[in-house]
Every structure is written in structure tokens, then in C-alpha cells.
Amino acid sequence: MRHGYDDPKPRVGFFTDTSVCIGCKACEVACKEWNQIPDSNQGFTGHSYDNTVDLGADTWRHVAFIEQRVPVDADGGASLVEAAERGGLVESSGVATYQEGDGLRWLMSSDVCKHCTEAACLEVCPTGALFRTEFGTVVVQEDVCNGCGYCVSACPFGVLDRREGDGRVWKCTLCYDRLKDDREPACAQACPTNSIQFGEVDELRERAEQRLAKLRDDGQSEARLYLADEEDGIGGAGAFFLLLDEPEVYGLPPDPVDSRRHLGSIWAATGAAAAALGAGLVAAVFGGR
């Protein structure tokens, strides 16, 4: 009976393992091609190899590039290269996302709509254009959306945006059309390193835990899972990540919260203020001489 479906499918999503992302942007291209998304900014940002800038109406996958010169081993202060020489990190874990030789660490991560368990965009949508599919994903119906823009301000990840010249809001559908046809989303299919893994969320979470344990065993103490369980502010995500630094380094919020969690107090304040206004008006109108 999940979300009112008589016959719900298992919840599906992405596990994006950024430790094996090579920054090829095949996901971005495959997404644009399959979903026929209009082209976006073709300029150069100077932000490493990232010229896509962010997620938005016309960018449903965005590969972030972060160049760092930081000690990898927090205890010893060694660079990753040294750590790799010491522990054979590359051979045993497959972590090879770093420039060799100069101690420069290069983080890459393909960002996407998180398809939150508690999705603020869906909850604030006044028209019902945003809905939860039978796969547990969050999708905008373009024939219903009237471009009110509430979801844009509600999303704690800055995923949704209004498309210029169109007026409606667009975002990742987790390839709803392909899911209905038992195919994996275009980005996951195109990913050459399996950094983007598609599957049932329960199974992906297990896989993510194993990967995290493996990396930590191999000395990658900065590895962490992001949005991979129910104990965060959005009840977990359908699309979650393995990161090698704090979320904000990738442009992700460290503690995203679905604003609905505060909706009770918000309505209470609204009601109290309305009552106070009523009382104030009565006092002012009848209180004079």
C-alpha cells in the first residue's frame, strides 16, 4: 500500500560511489540525450573540469570536480600517494581517482536528484504536479506543473529549477519511462566505472555499507555514506552517495532537513498570529473613546 499504490514496485534508486568516478561526464551526456534536455551553459567556469556548474532545469546530472592538496591520512599527514604506496590502496580498493606524484587529490562526483524519502518538493507542490511513482521516485508531471516555483525554494539540495522560456519546473525523473520498461536509467547504463549503480534501494544500501567498510579497512578514513539511511533530516534518499570529504565540499548540504518536519510549528505560529491580529483589531476598533 506504499503511497497509495495497489501494486507498488520495489523502491529503486542510485548508489553513486564517488571513489571510482573518473569525471568522464558520460552520465551527463546520456541523461541529456535520453531525456532530450535543452542545451545549457557552454562557457568555461575555471572550476577544474566542471563547466556544468550545478543541477537545474536543464542539468539533471552534474559532475563536480574538486582539486585538493590535503593530507589524506589524518593521523600521519601523508598524501594519498604515500598512503597508496604504503598500503596498496589502489590495488586493493580500486581507488584511483587521484593525480599521481604531486599529492594533489582530485575528487569527482556525479550529483543528481536525491528522490528523498521525505521530499519537500512533493509536499509543497500545490497542484499535485510532483508525485511519488510506484517505484518510490519523485517525478514532475509536465502537463500539470504551472510553474509556481514553490518546490524550487523548498528543495534543500537546489535540484529543481524553472526552465527559461518554458516556465515549468524540470528535474531528474530517474528515467521513469525506462523504469516502466524494466530498463535502468540512462546515466547508470552509460557509467563506465559503475560509479553510478542503479538498483533496489535496500540492496544498494547493503552494497554501500560493504564498500564503506572496505575503503575504511584499506585506510581511506575520510570515506562516508551520505543519505544512505533513515536517520538524516529527509528520512534517507533514493539516490545516495559515498563521499571522500564533507558534503559541503561537493556542494551538498551537510544536514538537509525536510521543512515539513517543522510544519506543525509553522502552522501553529500562523494560527496564533492570525488570532492575535483578530484580537488586536477588536481592541483597536472598540478600545477607543
Binding site: 509556481c148 555499507e209 551537510p254
Partner: protein, 310 residues
Amino acid sequence: MSEDGTRSYYGQPVIKEPVWSPEIPAYLFTGGLAGASAGLAYLAGLRGDEELARRAWIAAGAGVSASPLLLISDLGVPRRFLNMLRMFKVTSPMSVGSWILSASGLATSVATANAVTGALPRAAAAARPAAALLGLPLSTYTAALLTNTAIPVWHEARGVLAFVFAGGSAASAGAVAVAVTPPRHAGPARRVAVGGAAAELIALAAMERRLGELGEPLRSGRAGTLNRLAKGITLAGAAVIGARAGRSRAAAVAGGAILAAGTLAERWAIFRAGFQSAADPKYVVGPQRRRIEEGTARGGSRQAPRLASA
């Protein structure tokens, strides 16, 4: 890393700035004006101040007429405005507000039409209390609309913003009524104007204290300038009304106009501050990082693996 120690991705925003245009702060004003004017008109009518009641109904009618036009004009696809009434969703203040505005618009229009023409006495008798009552949430639900978002300065003001808007609504309704009503009939309107302005300024001070560091967008940049300006104008308008509007029609018109402008400017300042707080990642990341450091939230990430077998 920015100078205050917040880490970010090339200083880029974490969340999107709102896509809302200046129609929205204008609506925050017209909606509040309509809502509180309906209450003022109804109560003035009960008190027997027909001159004041009629003018306040006209102000309320003007407010509820302008409001949907402003809202529709802000939509990405204006011709789909009726989709707002496809469903009623309590999780969406915009949905709730669309219904409040629709119902209040209907009731207020009937009451206003009768106040002007006298043609609908029986319908108006039912419409007047309904419009007055619906005007209260119409004045304050917009605070729920703004605070139920990821925009830091709005969301963190969630306990207080509704009171700012309640005060501002009363102030604007009183101000407009003072400006258009002969002074000898406008006593209640003057008290509503001055009392509303005082309530708005007090609630604003409480809000800025509550926001603490996060209130910076209300003190800096364009929103900061607007905020200071708005408070000054509001204070000046209320002072003119309080001191002179009882005796001088000219002072009433000037004071009413000044105070109304002040409440409009305050809505605009709060609106713009939201944009400023969305644009700078330090306002988004900073408070979240603090929640994690203080231990009040675990945050989105976890470094310890959870293995079924281990």
C-alpha cells in the same frame, strides 16, 4: 573555504534562489491589506462607523482583486492558474493559501459590492463576517508560505514571521483607511495603523534577535538597506498618523501613504533577504554544520559502516 571557515564548492550556492518575481512581495502587501481591511471594515460596521466601514471594504476589495492578478502573473505558466485548486494540501501553504484567497476573495467581493451599491444586503450580511474571519489567515499564511522552505533566513524565522506579517497587515489596513477617511470618522483606523506598526516593529526586532548571525542578510546588502529604510518609513508614517492625522486631513493622507509604503518596503526587504541567504553557501552550510557540531543533529553523512554480518 570562505573567510568564516565554511567549506563550499567554489563558493557556489547549495540551494537555488527563489524564482519568485517582485509580484510576490507586492502580493504579501495586497493580501495583508485585504485581510486586515476586511476585519477593520467588519468591526467598524459593528461599531456603527459606516463611513469608515465602507471605505475599508473598498480597500479590502481592491486588495483581493489585485492579489490573484499578481499571483497569476508570477506563475511560469499563468494560464494554468486554476491548477492551484486541483487539490487541497495542508502540507503546502501555497495550496492552503490559494483556497483561503479564493474564499476570502469571494466573501470580500460580495461585502464590498454591497458597501458600494447596497444591492446585496442579505448576501453581504453573511459575507461580511466570513470575509473578516478569512482575512485573518489571509494576512498571516504567507509567513507559512515563506518559512516552509529551505531558504535559511525565512525558515529560521518560522516562529516569528507570521507576527511580523500580522502587524504589517494591520498597519497597512489602518494606513489606507486613515488616508481615505475623513479624520473624524477615522479614529479606529488610526489606532489600527499605529498599533499594527508598533506590533510589526516589535515582532521584527524579536525576529532579528532570534535569527542572530543568520539575520545578517537583513542587515547587509540591498535587503539590509531596504529593511532599515522600511523601519524608518514605518516609524515616520505611524508618528505622523499618531500625532497629526486626527486633526489634519493632509496629515492623514500623508501619514497613511507613508505607513503603507513602509509596510510594503518591509515585505520587500524580507523577500530580498531570502534571496541573499540562498545565494551564499555560508548561510546554508553554517547553521547545518553547527547543528552537527553541537550534536543536535547527526547530519546527512555517516562514517561508520553498518554491516549485517559484522
